[in-house]
Structures are given as C-alpha cells and as structure tokens.
Symmetry: C2
Subunit: 184 residues, 2 copies
C-alpha cells in the first residue's frame, strides 16, 4: 500500500523550511507547521530541537475519538499532555509504581517523564499540545508519514519494520504485555 499521495514526491512536503532549523525567531499561524499522519492522528511540529539547542520541541496532535496510543515508555524523553480541545484519558504509572488514570479536559495538563509507562485514549475529538525533550518531536514523521493534507484522510498504518525503526531511533519501548488495572 502506498501513501506517497500524501505529499508530492517530486518536491517533498510543502511545509519544508517552515521552521528555521536554527535558533531564530518566527511565528506560525494556527494549523501551520510540519504535518505528519500517524494512525488516525495529525501531528504538527511547531518547534524542533534544532531551534532550541535540543532542549525541547513542541507538537500539536489532532485526534479522532476512539484512538488508543498503546502502552509504552521513553528511555530519554520527557513528555507533556495539554488538552486544548476535547477529552483524553491518560494512563500512567506513578512514582511509587501504582497505576493511575485521569480524564483530561481542556486546560488540564499531564506530565510523564522518561522511564514511566503510559498510554492514552482519545475520548472525544481532541486537540492536544505536547512539549517533548528535543528531537522526539520528529518521531511522528518517522513512524508516520509526512503530509500536506490536514483535512480528513484515511489512517496511515505503518508496517512493523517502520514502527520498530522509529521506536529504536527515538528510544521508545512498546510494552504490549502491560495491563492497566485502574478504575475509570
């Protein structure tokens, strides 16, 4: 199955160069940025580690309801979840090893540092913002696929080698055996 139609392969994504690639000031309008499709979600990079001496990157995620991001942890990435619109249920292991789940509404904020198992489920059509340790923001382009189409699209389902390569590159561990035993 080919998804090259998501961008023009002759020119690459139209958003190339929208970020300066070095610490220089700029402004993006709502919806602008580096777009990638992964599963049903549209991820947009607003800022990358290249602009921040690798301190942090920032993404937005537009997510259809029902989406489940399976349990995983990051070896080296701190990650935030700020709900702009909609509702997202976050599952995470606490510092004492106990399991927690919280339903995040607009304005609610979650933090999961490196090393902690977590997952989330999109309960309503949602828009989230995430700040990530610098470099991880491009994970979604590597596991997903760059796109210039920000409207309704079929999901992009990566094959296993692509998933494994992206996870390895960004030091992300999927935890398929992990079970959540938490009251909702």
């Amino acid at each position: 199955m080919s998804f090259e139609y998501l961008i023009d392969p002759a020119t690459g994504p139209q958003w190339q160069g929208v970020l300066p690639g070095r610490p220089a000031p700029y402004v993006l309008r709502r919806g602008e940025g580096e777009h990638a499709k992964l599963f049903g979600d549209l991820f947009t990079v607003l800022l990358s580690g290249e602009e921040t001496e690798n301190q942090f990157g920032i993404i937005t995620a537009d997510c259809p309801p029902g989406d489940v991001i399976p349990t995983h942890r990051h070896d080296a990435t701190h990650e935030t979840f700020y709900v702009l619109e909609g509702a997202v249920r976050l599952f995470f292991e606490d510092a004492d090893g106990s399991q927690q789940t919280q339903l995040l509404a607009p304005g609610d904020f979650g933090f999961v540092p490196a090393g902690y198992a977590h997952a989330y489920q999109v309960v309503e059509p949602s828009r989230m913002m995430g700040t990530l340790s610098g470099g991880f923001e491009r994970f979604f382009q590597h596991m997903g696929t760059p796109t210039d189409h920000t409207g309704a699209q079929p999901p992009f389902i990566p094959d296993f080698p692509r998933m494994q390569a992206a996870a390895q590159q960004h030091r992300m561990q999927f935890l398929p055996e992990h079970r959540w035993d938490v009251p909702e």
Copy 2:
C-alpha cells in the same frame, strides 16, 4: 507597601508541593499550579526544570488587556508564545536584524530564542502558554510575588531592586532605549 496578604506568611503558598520537584508523573487540573502575580498578570507554573532535568519549564499567563511587557532579551533562555485565548501583539527582531510585529490569535505560535530583543502587548484579555528553557519559569515568582489568589487582584509592581535582582538571577536584559519602528 506590603503584599504579604497575597499568601499566608505563616504557611507559605498553598500551592507548595503541587509540582513533584523531580522527574515524576503528575496531572494538574485547569488553573492548578504555582501562582504568582507580576504587574497585572497571573503567571502559573505547570512544570519546572526540576521535573525535566532542566530541559524546559511551562507556564500559563492570564493577562488583562493593555498590558505591555517592555523590550528585553534573554541571554540563555529560549521562549515560546502560544495564545490560548485573546490576542497578543508580539514584537521581535528577526535573524537579519529587521524588526517584526505580529498579532497572535488563539492557536498562533511565536518563538523567540536567546539573544533576540522582543516585547509584547496584550490587546484583548488573554491566556497564553509558554515553554521556556528550564529554570526561567520561576522568574515570574522572583520578580513578582507568589499568590494563592487567582481572581481579580490589584497589580503587583515590584520595586527596582527586586526587578534588578530577578533579571540578574535569570540573565534577562531590559532594553529601555530600544525603539520599534514597525507598521502595525
């Protein structure tokens, strides 16, 4: 003039301990965090460098219209401006030294890296989110004053020694001679 009434001096701010102070998972509900008043603005720290190995911190700012943050630059802090509600006019020097101004509406995003002169003016009652190089998020408590009162309050106007101490501690340079010559 005394502002101790903003917190109970016997116990300190009620928000003490709301952030874990180390890389551990947590959730904040909308409005929760470390509150500080500076001029007319309410700054709330959602995440500090203590949780991110000093990579980044995150704040929100609730700002009344008319507020002007005078021209300054940071020696070592990268700073973002994401408008959640309202409208904010950002002024910044570009990488080629030219001056720019852009009116940011909800969903718009601005980035100003270390070393670049910038200022902003709050045009409508606004709520902004900022991601900052780790450590700078507490600047607003140091130049302003911690508070437990998030509703309407009189402005907190720091005296000059307090402003100078906070600016020096956080390597921020005010640029009172700077003039903006940009069409709005």
